[in-house]
């Protein structure tokens, strides 16, 4: 048994038992069998209305067992949060039951895999006293309230977690990895008479508490509060087709939703991708080069090995506007006889892995933001994005704008509220006419098939020459 990177709980699963369970899962054959064992400890703190409402500590653990058949991209899956031999064998049997008949498959000797990169916590959050974490949450509250007397309410959410995973597969993969994650999000409400506006900001990383050296809590709180207060001066957004300039980081959110999801291999395999059959074709402006990169050191969407044991990598998506390829998990990659791109991810042991993004970036171009704004006579500037939705089959998307401004005569003027960006992926990405050199990131939790996973996105300032803005000032 290999020593674990952190923790005093010992190994999560004995190798002999892992082999026995894999063998049971392959009773009826199938392409491969896999066990994913997880133990996750977490601390969360919520401050609301000036009060530390609640501290929660949790311990989650369980195992998911999968038997996959790449030829048909089909699988049997069972999970349990009991890790004793009986429960694991019972789950293996349930997973194997998806295959009606077939001869038992082999189980190779388990060999430990080394990740290409490790995202370590310098100062692990689980070694820091809860009282110190409470002090950060209180600091965020005080700083946010100090920004303006118009700040009416502040909610601060803090969470850190340590996910320890173990993967064993019938073709001999043995993976152990510890993934620390940390995030603090102030959510600020500002009010002036009947006008109520909100602002939030929440940088996040796969790191320890040293994350807050680079992203000081006070700065995060100030940005969130300033956003809410600024929006008090906003007017209803105009509606119609116009030029849109996306601030650093926000274009990455749009790229993730509108372009990234349709590149996920399961969507392509289901013939539900707007990009299907277009590899090698121009699908965006030649200014747009995009990648999915799980190797970003301590990135929110990063890992060393994915949830199927494939190494983290930097995967090209668009190269100068030309579609490079898909984002693969194991089932889809094995079916096509290509290596997985390391995009097999799962929310936890209780969900089967599916193709997911990690850190999805549009890389820097050569324009400067000042020049691009200065040469935009009229339009909308998106400083912060709200949530969004996309239909991968058609590429139709809608995004909320959390903080936006009018562009008039090459300058940012009045803040606007209630704006939505509405369009179709290929049309909008083809209308990008400037990519700047001021890359920045934005972190979030992406939902797909009921599974939420941490994802990063990033981009420099981008300009879209024309797209639809759905505003409330019709």
């Amino acid at each position: 048994m290999l020593p674990l990177a952190t923790g005093s709980m010992g190994a999560m699963l004995d190798r002999d038992l892992a082999e026995e369970v894999l063998r049971a899962a392959r009773t009826h054959g199938g392409g491969f069998a896999e066990i994913f064992v997880e133990e996750r400890t977490s601390t969360s703190i919520r401050l609301d209305d000036g009060k530390v409402e609640e501290l929660t500590t949790g311990l989650d653990r369980g195992a998911g067992i999968r038997v996959g058949t790449p030829e048909t991209t089909s699988f049997g899956f069972a999970h349990t949060n009991r890790l004793d031999r009986d429960a694991l064998l019972e789950a293996a049997e349930a997973a194997a039951a998806s295959l009606r008949a077939g001869t038992p498959g082999d189980v190779a000797d388990l060999r430990a895999l080394e990740p290409p990169v490790r995202h370590r916590a310098q100062r692990p959050a689980d070694a820091v006293a809860a009282a110190e974490k409470v002090s950060w949450v209180r600091e965020a509250d005080e700083v946010a309230r100090g920004v303006s007397p118009e700040v009416r309410q502040v909610v601060v959410s803090y969470v850190d977690s340590l996910q320890r995973i173990l993967i064993a597969t019938s073709d001999g993969r043995w993976v152990e990895e510890s993934r620390p994650r940390i995030r603090l999000v102030p959510h600020v409400v500002a009010a002036r008479d009947d006008n109520i506006q909100t602002g939030l900001h929440g940088p996040a990383g796969s790191a320890g508490v040293e994350f807050f050296d680079e992203h000081p809590v006070a700065e995060t709180a100030r940005i969130a509060a300033q956003r809410a207060v600024t929006m008090l001066d906003s007017i209803p957004a105009p509606a119609g087709e116009m030029t849109v300039v996306l601030a650093p980081g926000t274009g990455g959110v749009l790229f993730h939703e509108a372009c990234g999801h349709p590149l996920e291999a399961d969507i392509v395999d289901h013939e539900a991708s707007v990009y299907r059959g277009k590899i090698g074709e121009r699908v965006a402006s030649e200014l747009v080069t995009g990648v999915d990169d799980a190797t970003v050191l301590n990135g929110w969407g990063s890992f060393g090995l994915d949830d199927e044991g494939a190494p983290a990598q930097r995967t090209p998506m668009f190269e100068q506007g030309v579609l490079s390829g898909w984002l693969y998990d194991r089932l889809r990659a094995d079916k096509e006889g290509v290596p997985s791109s390391g995009n097999g991810r799962r929310q936890s042991y209780s969900s089967p892995p599916i193709p997911r993004m990690t850190n999805t970036y549009i890389v820097n171009g050569s324009s400067t933001a000042a020049d691009v704004l200065g040469s935009t006579p009229q339009g909308v500037y998106v400083k912060a994005m709200g949530g969004g939705q996309v239909n991968p089959a058609t590429g139709d998307f809608v995004f909320g704008v959390a903080e936006g401004y009018l562009i008039q005569g090459g300058e940012l003027t009045t803040p606007v509220r209630g704006a939505n960006l509405i369009g179709r992926a290929i049309e909008v990405m083809s209308a990008v006419d400037a990519v700047c050199d001021d890359f920045s990131t934005w972190e979030g939790v992406c939902g797909k098939d009921g599974q939420g996973v941490p994802v990063g996105s990033g981009s420099p300032t981008l300009r879209i020459s024309r797209m639809t803005v759905g505003g409330t000032d019709a």
Binding site: E54, T56, G62, T80, D86, A87, A272, Q389, A393, A474
Partner: protein, 449 residues
């Protein structure tokens, strides 16, 4: 199988670990669920799951709240969770409104649990999923593929006990099926969605799901962006339910007390059309969230929140009720054993009216039937109630549905929308725990080109 400690025994272990002056509540939950996904005549995915866990809420002498949970714990681990919750409480702010509810009689709801469903062999689930895909792909030649075709069920048990004397439990079966189709014609691709939920798989309307998923995709083929106009709008239950979700947060007493609701200080006011009645009812058996008691053990009941357009009540749990000097409406809600109870809806719905959906169409000449809205989550401000969302639907002419319309935007406010309802359909149905019939809104701005 090794002996498994019962949920009730785990709760008892927690209560017995309470120290003097402390209030301790244990919420224990276990479930078994299954899901089958069909594609191209085969089962693409078959999943089965078991989980259990216990969450401990501890309120210290000074009204400080701590929480801890553990997945599949032993009795010792439950005691450890109580100790962790105690440590956590020591760092929380003191709040006199933190109390546990007293025990009270809860309704008996034996029909929540169907043993025939709990005992259904997995082969039957597999056959139903395959059958749904087969039906879905043989109705219209333009719809030969499904994007999603799934069926699933779960059996869950909840046990709750506290030092205040609450000691209650229930079991429930839940089932569901979903189909998302792809309609294709030339380069045009449209998707259509349908969904049903119920206590037993054999009670779901399988043919209706297939037919609906096909129709909703096929009728959108060739959809165009319409010119911007102010027109009557019919929202079908799929579209209307998206807005109800926004409304539920504004009707929560937690939002009201924290200054985050557009309805604060409006109790008793007329806030919508007289034909709008919105209700929360945890005892409604056909609602998916039906349960005899809420997530802290308070009896479920029916609460009219908006009655004939008048704001009649807010949703309360024990904390908000105490803070607001009223009684809990049985709306303590939590996302499983991992979190302490907040305020949430049970079965939350707009009451059905007298009109057939066809009648709504007849009354909306030249208007738009909206069948899907997107971006409500991002595009609606739950505090101010303003929203701008993307929508797809169809043109209404002479009571019939004509060409498909896409890339529309609808911008309004929740109060304007509630006031603008001029007819309510008799076709109430539930989507997750939110239900609505079709509604007719006299006039809305629908943005396009």
């Amino acid at each position: 199988m090794p002996d498994v400690v019962s949920l009730g025994d785990l709760c008892v272990a927690a209560i017995e670990a309470a120290e003097g002056g402390e209030a301790v509540e244990a919420f224990a939950q276990e479930s078994r669920s299954r899901e089958a996904e069909a594609r191209k005549g085969e089962i693409e995915g078959l999943s089965s799951a078991q989980s259990r866990g216990v969450g401990i809420r501890l309120i210290s002498d000074g009204g400080r709240l701590g929480y801890a949970y553990a997945a599949d714990p032993t009795a010792d681990e439950v005691r450890r969770a109580v100790a962790q919750a105690r440590d956590n409480a020591a760092l929380a702010s003191s709040d006199a409104f933190n109390v546990l509810p007293d025990p009270a009689p809860v309704p008996d709801m034996p029909d929540l649990y169907r043993s025939s469903q709990a005992e259904m062999p997995i082969d039957r689930l597999v056959a139903l999923a395959l059958d749904l895909e087969q039906r879905t792909t043989s109705i219209d030649p333009r719809v030969s593929k499904v994007e999603v075709c799934q069926a699933g069920d779960s059996v869950s048990r909840v046990a709750l006990a506290s030092t205040a004397g609450v000691d209650a439990a229930y079991e429930r079966t839940d089932t569901w099926c979903v189909a998302v189709t792809l309609a294709e014609e030339g380069d045009d691709v449209q998707t259509g969605y349908s969904y049903r939920i119920g206590r037993e798989l054999d009670e779901l309307g399988w043919h209706e799901v297939a037919f609906e998923a096909v129709t909703r995709a096929a009728r959108m083929l060739g959809a165009q962006k319409p010119p911007s106009a102010r027109v009557p709008v019919v929202m079908d239950p799929f579209a209307a339910s998206a807005f109800l979700g926004v409304l539920s947060s504004a009707l929560s007493a937690e939002s009201v007390q924290k200054g985050r609701s557009l309805f604060a200080d409006r109790l008793g006011d007329q806030i919508g059309s007289e034909i709008v009645t919105i209700v929360d009812d945890g005892t409604l058996l056909e609602g998916p969230a039906a349960a005899p008691f809420d997530d802290e053990g308070v009896a479920s009941g029916r609460t009219a929140l908006i009655e004939n357009g008048r704001l009649a009540a807010f949703l309360h749990n024990t904390y908000t009720a105490r803070r607001g000097d009223t009684t809990s409406t049985g709306n303590a809600s939590r996302a499983g054993y991992r979190s302490s109870p907040g305020v949430g809806t049970s079965n939350f719905y707009l009451e059905a009216g007298p009109a057939d959906p066809e009648e709504l169409l007849l009354r909306a000449e030249g208007g738009v039937l909206v069948q899907e809205v997107t971006g409500v989550h991002s595009g609606a401000n739950p505090i101010s109630g303003t929203f701008s969302v993307g929508a797809t639907g169809l043109r209404i002419r002479e009571g019939g549905l004509e060409e498909g319309l896409r890339e529309m935007t609808i911008a309004s406010t929740i109060p304007e929308m509630l006031a603008g309802v001029t007819a309510v359909g008799n076709d109430l149905r539930f989507f997750s725990s939110v239900g609505t019939p079709s509604i007719l809104i006299g006039e809305m701005t629908v943005g396009g080109v």
